[in-house]
């Protein structure tokens, strides 16, 4: 799949993950979110920034548990819980956030 943005062709794989992680930008994130029927609010952006920070620091796309725990340490328990994350990013939050935030597809193992 691909879509064009500012005259640039952005490629994704069949499941909507960016093929080239360097293509990511906030505008691209909006496009990726739209494909997933998520409208990004400030609350969403806060989590996107957080998961990108996690990836930059630890070179891991976090699974749900570490993501919740990391969110709790950075933003407090009110946001660091799975219900909050599920409300923003339904069904499979860790995967969905990774996709929109331009992280590598989480390893199938985890």
């Amino acid at each position: 799949m691909s879509f064009s943005f500012n005259d640039k062709i952005i490629e994704t794989d069949k499941e909507g993950y960016l093929r080239y992680l360097d293509d990511w930008s906030p505008h691209i994130a909006e496009q990726l979110a739209e494909y997933e029927n998520v409208t990004l609010s400030e609350a969403h952006w806060e989590i996107i920034a957080l998961i990108r920070e996690f990836y930059a620091t630890y070179e891991l796309s976090p699974a749900m548990r570490p993501l919740v725990k990391y969110t709790a340490t950075q933003l407090g328990k009110e946001k660091g819980n799975s219900i909050y994350l599920m409300q923003l990013f339904p069904n499979s939050p860790a995967k969905l956030i990774s996709k929109i935030a331009g992280l590598p597809r989480p390893k199938n193992c985890l």
Binding site: F54, Y58, E59, L60, A63, R65, K69, T73, K107, C109
Partner: protein, 133 residues
């Protein structure tokens, strides 16, 4: 993913085993160390009680200031510092192996308990199962 064990399931049943993961190989020469870490993270994600034991050349995994970008490999040091978010708190290193390699606690990237041989023996013999890497 087709599997018979969801993370919820594992929390409620089968949760009483002490699993030890023994890391004995230096990182980067092959990806055994990285894959062993993946196994450790998975064990924790599935809710199991886990102890990580570094010994032999495995203690080299703990060294700080790893810069693996130039050889195009993921940075194991960075990944190890994420252990706390995976609820992996029991992390031990064989003091004899550290001494042999003249590594000091302040050469290490994460807070590990360096244990004497006798403690190491005790720790290994406490585990219900050992995964050997």
């Amino acid at each position: 993913m087709s599997n018979s064990l969801s993370s919820n399931e594992s929390n409620t049943k089968k949760s009483s085993k002490k699993i030890g993961i023994v890391m004995r190989h230096a990182p980067y020469g092959n990806n055994l160390a990285h894959e062993a870490l993946d196994a450790a993270l998975a064990t924790s994600i599935y809710g199991q009680e886990l102890t990580l034991i570094f010994m032999g050349d495995g203690v080299f995994q703990l060294l700080h200031q790893q810069e693996s970008k130039a050889i195009h490999q993921k940075n194991l040091e960075k990944q190890l510092t994420a252990l706390e978010f995976y609820d992996i708190e029991k992390v031990f290193a064989c003091k004899h192996s550290l001494d042999e390699r003249q590594l000091k606690q302040n050469n290490l990237s994460i807070n590990v308990a360096a244990i004497e041989t006798e403690e190491l023996q005790q720790l290994l013999h406490e585990q219900d199962v050992l995964l050997s890497f």
